[in-house]
């Protein structure tokens, strides 16, 4: 099932990627080419096979509940595009 231009626009919106209209046909073709490759996997019989999310199948190690981090706002905000009064700034959020 090939992606249409509108599908690509929907995916790009979900991923918050601003695509140029001019690039859309090329992007659509490329994605269809990749999905064509990926779809070869559908032929594999995976009935009853448990998905494998992590290669080693280990279990999570837990961290003791200790405060180890301290205020480094100045250093961390030195690389931020826009801050004021210690806050990160974004265009107005409307709820």
């Amino acid at each position: 099932m090939a992606l249409e231009r509108s599908d690509v626009e929907k995916i790009a919106h979900l991923a918050r990627l601003g695509l140029n209209d001019a690039d859309l046909p090329r992007t659509t073709d490329a994605l269809n080419s990749i999905l064509g490759l990926v779809d070869q996997m559908q032929a594999v019989d995976t009935q009853g096979i448990a998905p494998l999310a992590h290669p080693l199948e280990a279990s999570q190690r837990l961290r003791p509940d200790q405060v180890t981090e301290h205020n480094q706002r100045e250093a961390y905000q030195a690389i931020a595009p826009a801050t004021e009064n210690g806050l990160y700034l974004v265009p107005k959020v409307i709820e």
């Binding site: 992590h54 837990l62 509940d65 200790q66 981090e69 205020n71 210690g86 990160y88 107005k92 709820e95």
Partner: protein
């Protein structure tokens, strides 16, 4: 048409850990913006989460307290969406394998009946930061101090049938998490937040109506008002021939209305998948048993014990056990004062109305359990009458010292010397000869009414210090001589 209301709740409780769920930042409320936001909380490139053991332990405590199955293999998943208070562009949460499975909680309704509310699940996740909507030249400010605070999201079955039931359930959860010590329950600071799923259906209909979700309602009063308002809105909408649209709504307590949240209306496709930075959390049976054995006494057991141990009525036991702090306070007063029923009365009535008046919780009570218990001793040894005790209580609340100090300073010691009381009564009777004659001439029924007059005069003459029991006894003797 008769409508039935159906309510299910999602309660987000911030767990009372020292550090965040996936980083070593502090979780203290109210710090300067972004001073508690570490590399991990900020979602810096290259950073990785490591799970806080205490958050897991607390989730297990909750699960055991609501009789739930504890997941043995718990998977964290990413919930993907873009929002400025969500630094990584995904929230680490749980989807298919939550720590806490199906359980239940029994709640006591206003009429004293017990209702069982089903708990669908409870899962661990990280809190988001905060968007500050004050205007920064047309911009919104983002504070990520809260980002990564551990949350236990408790999802109920749609078992509640009125706003009052919903509030009773939230109160029961609130009490429970505080009993367990896993959440400070401070709703004003957002430690416990509630999303209400509300729908209506014609009475007798089996299928649920279309529901709306009211987001982030943060006080018991607002929960009741928001739900009632939403119920009204839905009923009116349907009766006017309209249809309820499934949506997320926001309650505005200032205007007492709910309104649609446009920002959440976009079709959500959260693309959940197992977080590849975190491995499955395996919870061993031995760990569960260890947590179980360390569980504190919970409300139902406490109510039962209060009745058994102290001879309290079911109602009094339930009221006193409603919060762990109040129950502990009561038990301390009872232990010092030596009379549980007297202690129950004072805690529920005098202390209760004082706290109500001041609008504070029992852990901030101006009269400590030690002070109150000490005062009860003076009531029991007849130093204080009930009336004097109230005066002493007020003085203690005003910080004037313990009961003995107040009694001493104000000369409030009850007069129990029978000679002094006799003299006093003789004076009262001598000053009211007319009433004495009337009394003696009256029948039994009238006498009973008139008796109070003499008691009042006697107490007044003694400035309230005469022992009322003795006054009664001697008056009767003298009048009926």
């Amino acid at each position: 048409m008769q409508w039935e209301v159906v309510i299910g709740l999602e309660i987000h409780t911030q767990l009372a850990t020292q550090s965040k769920i996936f980083s070593g930042s502090a979780t203290t409320f109210g710090s300067e913006p972004n001073t508690q936001a570490s590399l991990v909380d900020l979602g810096m490139p290259g950073v990785l989460p490591v799970l806080n053991a205490e958050a897991v332990r607390m989730a297990v405590m909750f699960g055991l307290a609501v009789g739930a199955h504890i997941g043995q293999r718990n998977v964290f998943a990413r919930k993907n969406y873009f929002y400025p208070d969500l630094p990584k562009g995904y929230q680490i949460s749980q989807m298919d394998h939550p720590v806490v499975g199906k359980g239940y909680l029994d709640i006591t309704l206003e009429d004293g009946t017990i209702k069982r509310v089903g708990i669908t699940r409870a899962h661990l996740e990280e809190d988001a930061g905060k968007s500050l909507h004050e205007d920064f030249n047309g911009a919104t400010g983002i504070d990520l101090n809260r980002a990564g605070t551990p949350l236990l999201e408790i999802v109920s079955e749609p078992d509640m049938r009125s706003a009052k039931e919903a509030v009773a359930y939230v109160k029961a959860i609130h009490a429970l998490v505080r009993y367990l010590g896993i959440c400070d329950g401070n709703m004003a600071e957002g430690s416990l937040r509630c999303d209400c799923n509300v729908s209506v259906r014609p009475k007798g209909q089996a299928e649920f109506g279309t529901r709306c979700e009211i987001k982030n309602v943060n006080s018991f009063r607002f929960i009741e008002r928001a739900i009632n308002h939403e119920v009204q809105r839905q009923i009116e909408l349907i009766e006017d021939g309209g249809r309820v649209v499934q949506e997320t709504r926001l309650y505005d307590p200032n205007k007492d209305v709910t309104r649609s949240m446009r920002s959440k209306e976009e079709a959500n496709d959260y693309r959940y998948f197992p977080d590849p930075d975190l491995l499955p959390v395996v919870i061993e049976d031995a760990f569960i048993e260890q947590v179980r054995s360390a569980l504190p006494e919970l409300p139902p057991q406490k109510v039962e014990r209060f009745q058994r141990q102290y001879g309290l009525s079911p109602y009094d036991a339930a009221v006193l056990a409603a919060s762990r702090e109040q129950a502990d306070y009561f038990e301390a007063v009872a232990a010092i004062g030596g009379d549980a029923k007297l202690a129950a009365n004072w805690v529920m009535v005098e202390l209760g109305s004082l706290l109500n008046k001041l609008g504070i919780d029992i852990d901030q009570a101006p009269v400590s359990a030690e002070l109150l218990g000490g005062m009860l001793l003076r009531i029991r040894d007849n130093t204080l009458s009930g009336k004097l005790a109230k005066m002493v209580f007020e003085a203690m609340a005003a910080g004037e010292g313990n009961a003995d100090q107040v009694i001493e300073a104000k000369g409030l010691k009850q007069v129990t010397d029978s000679g002094a009381i006799e003299t006093l009564l003789d004076e009262v009777l001598a000053a009211n000869t007319q009433q004495v004659e009337q009394y003696r001439a009256a029948d039994e029924a009238k006498r009973a009414k008139m008796f109070g007059f003499f008691v009042g005069q006697a107490m007044k003459a003694s400035k309230g210090k005469a022992n009322p029991g003795q006054v009664n006894e001697w008056l009767k003797r003298k009048l009926e001589g």
